[in-house]
Amino acid sequence: MPKYGMVIDLDKCTSCQACVTACKVENNVQIVSEDDAQNGRAMFWMKMLTMEFDGDYPNIRPKTLPRNCMQCDEPSCIKVCPVRATYLRDDGIVAQIYPQCIGCRYCMANCPYTVKVFNWDRQEQPAEVERTYNPDVSVRPKGIVEKCTFCIHRLQTASEKAKAEHRDLEPGDYVPACVEVCPVDAISFGDLDDRKSEVLKASRDYRAFGLLEELGTVPKVRYLNAKE
């Protein structure tokens, strides 16, 4: 069984936000109304975060990083879910079962990374957005929690395809949308159990770190610090 993980190289990342857009488009994440967005309800599974500013003006640089779901190996969200609407798959993906979610938002309150987003209400989407929905992903109703799933629908499609071709899933068959579109290949994705995989090598780099690792959540999304 593979264990999927991701490493984001902050040295390569240009903060272009393509991953943010790709995620929204790929997963039919709702565009909320103006009022909702201004009240802090904008929905992004992938978000550009400014962690801190390093240095003093003018030798100052913001440390920005794209933040999606960390796909923890010890996820705090799963522990507290009362109905198993979110669960850890054998392949390491923290998946969501949308029809199961009762919308108690306990997982949101317990996620140290604040990655979960809630469908506070269902706004009518602009016509052109509705027409360009990705047919592989369900549109979530109001009142439930959602988050990045490593584009799990792509895994399904890829494994079905591999099965139809009577072969095993190969590295590169399945990558999430953010990985696919990144213009500088800053995001590597793959099987952390595969000793030859690029992602495993990257995750063991001396520059590698995990967000809030000290909490013991064992995030499977790791970052590579910018080179000095």
Binding site: R41, C104, Y113
Partner: protein, 454 residues
């Protein structure tokens, strides 16, 4: 025991059931209006989703959960206090226990509904039973709140049976209801014995349940990894807070109904002074816990914790925090430790202060933590919407309506216990007292000496 005698002595306690004046209806209409408005708000929320509230990212729990914790806290007024007083054979409890238990029953029902109001998909509530995960503190909570509700309702009902029997015997309205509820209680020694045994068992059982309820509610927060929540002290801290707000709410309710139904003869100033002393003790205990909680946070100085800490002490929630300190510590401690101020008006002010302060405390525990996530998101903000305020208003008016409704069906002060106190306890207490005193040999000796005196 002759029931005819009771009619003369404690007629005042029956009066609210049979006599209703116009102002009562006016209040009922006003409260119903508030309740219906809140109901309308909820229906609006059902249709349009939780977007109707002021919650957002990252403040994803707010008013409803605050009210939930607060109401469940109030519910400790009752059962826990009444059980502890009964258990410790505090004789002054007799006019208090019934009201305390009623508060528990009603408030628990209302508080218990709040998490459901808070659900994004209340239509899927049955998933909790079909696919519930016992690993989740929410399921523990579901279990303990329902258990507590069951236990405290029974604990309210069982000691009420003799009174219901009295009402049945008086005849008049709702005779059939009373007949069913009285369970054929006739006051025979066997029945009395069984009743007392039942009360004793319930009394012992209900205490751990009550403590577990609030501990588990505290665990909902304490089990998370969030700064400001992840604390071992939270269980007892919440229980103390619950008892604190419970006593204060009890005092307010008692004073209100004392005034409305003219129970001055039954609820004397001494009762309130005793309750005031209890309130003072719990106030100090609460302060001790609060001090513990914040001192360790401050001394540890962990960045994420400090962000929440400073948000409470100097940041956006500072007004609420310091208001809480005033309401929960300064005001009650100053009033209740001063003999001149510790009169009924003073105690009432202190109690109102504590109820407000405890609500603020729940607010301060829940929102600042959510508003200050660990990663550098901008500080969240939260302003309740009309929907949330409407539902909070509806919850409060539902409580009052429930209490008023109860007062029209059953006596608010336990008649048989008052009677029992009058008939037996004077003797029993003086006997018990002598037993404590030096020089007395044993029980039989005491009995003999009492007899001799009489």
């Amino acid at each position: 025991m002759s029931y005819q005698n009771l009619r003369d002595e404690d007629e005042a306690l029956f009066r609210p059931i049979y006599e209703t004046d116009r102002s009562f209806y006016a209040v009922v209409i006003a409260l119903t209006a508030i309740f219906l408005f809140g109901l309308g708000c909820y229906i609006h929320q059902l249709i349009y989703g939780l977007g109707a509230t002021g919650m957002d990212e990252p403040v994803s729990w707010a008013f409803y959960i605050v009210d939930f914790v607060f109401f469940i806290g109030i519910s400790h007024a009752g059962t826990l206090i009444s059980a502890i007083l009964r258990l410790s054979k505090a004789e002054w409890r007799r006019p208090i226990t019934r009201m305390a238990e009623v508060i528990t029953g009603i408030v628990l029902a209302i508080g218990g509904l709040h998490p459901i109001i808070d659900l994004g998909r209340p239509d899927r509530i049955l998933h909790l039973f079909e696919r519930g995960r016992l690993q989740s503190p929410l399921l523990w909570d579901l279990t303990s709140v329902t258990a507590y509700f069951t236990a405290s309702t029974i604990y309210l009902y069982v000691p009420m049976i003799p009174d219901i029997a009295l009402l049945r015997d008086r005849g008049g309205k709702l005779k059939n209801l009373y007949r069913i509820l009285a369970w054929g209680y006739k006051g025979t020694p066997k029945q009395k014995h069984a009743l007392e045994r039942a009360i004793n068992i319930l009394m012992v059982m209900v205490i751990p349940i009550a403590i577990s309820v609030h501990t588990i509610i505290a665990w909902i927060f304490g089990m998370t990894l969030q700064p400001g929540w992840h604390s071992t002290i939270f269980g007892p801290y919440f229980v103390v807070g619950a008892i604190y707000s419970g006593i204060a709410a009890l005092v307010i309710v008692m004073l209100a109904f004392r005034k409305i139904y003219h129970f001055e003869d039954y609820l004397k100033e001494i009762h309130f002074q005793y309750l005031g002393t209890l309130l003072l003790v719990v106030a100090l205990l609460w302060t001790y816990f609060t001090f513990n909680e914040y001192l360790t946070t401050f001394y540890g100085h962990e960045p994420a914790e400090m962000r929440v800490f400073l948000y409470k002490f100097t940041g956006g929630y500072a007004p609420f925090f310091w208001a809480m300190v005033f309401c929960n510590f300064l005001l009650p401690v100053v009033i209740l430790s001063n003999k001149k101020l510790k009169k009924i008006p003073g105690i009432l002010i202190a109690s109102i202060g504590v109820v407000i302060g405890m609500w603020l405390e729940r607010l301060i525990i829940i929102i600042p933590t959510l508003a200050n996530p660990r990663l550098p998101y901008p500080t969240g903000m939260y302003i309740p919407s009309i929907t949330e305020i409407g539902i909070a208003g509806a919850a409060t008016s539902a409580f009052l309506l429930g209490f008023m409704g109860f007062s029209k069906l059953f006596p608010l002060i336990s008649i048989w216990e008052t009677k029992e106190g009058r008939e037996h306890s004077v003797h029993e207490v003086s006997m018990r007292l002598r037993e404590y005193l030096p020089g007395q040999l044993d029980k039989s000796g005491v009995e003999a000496s009492v007899k001799a005196e009489l």
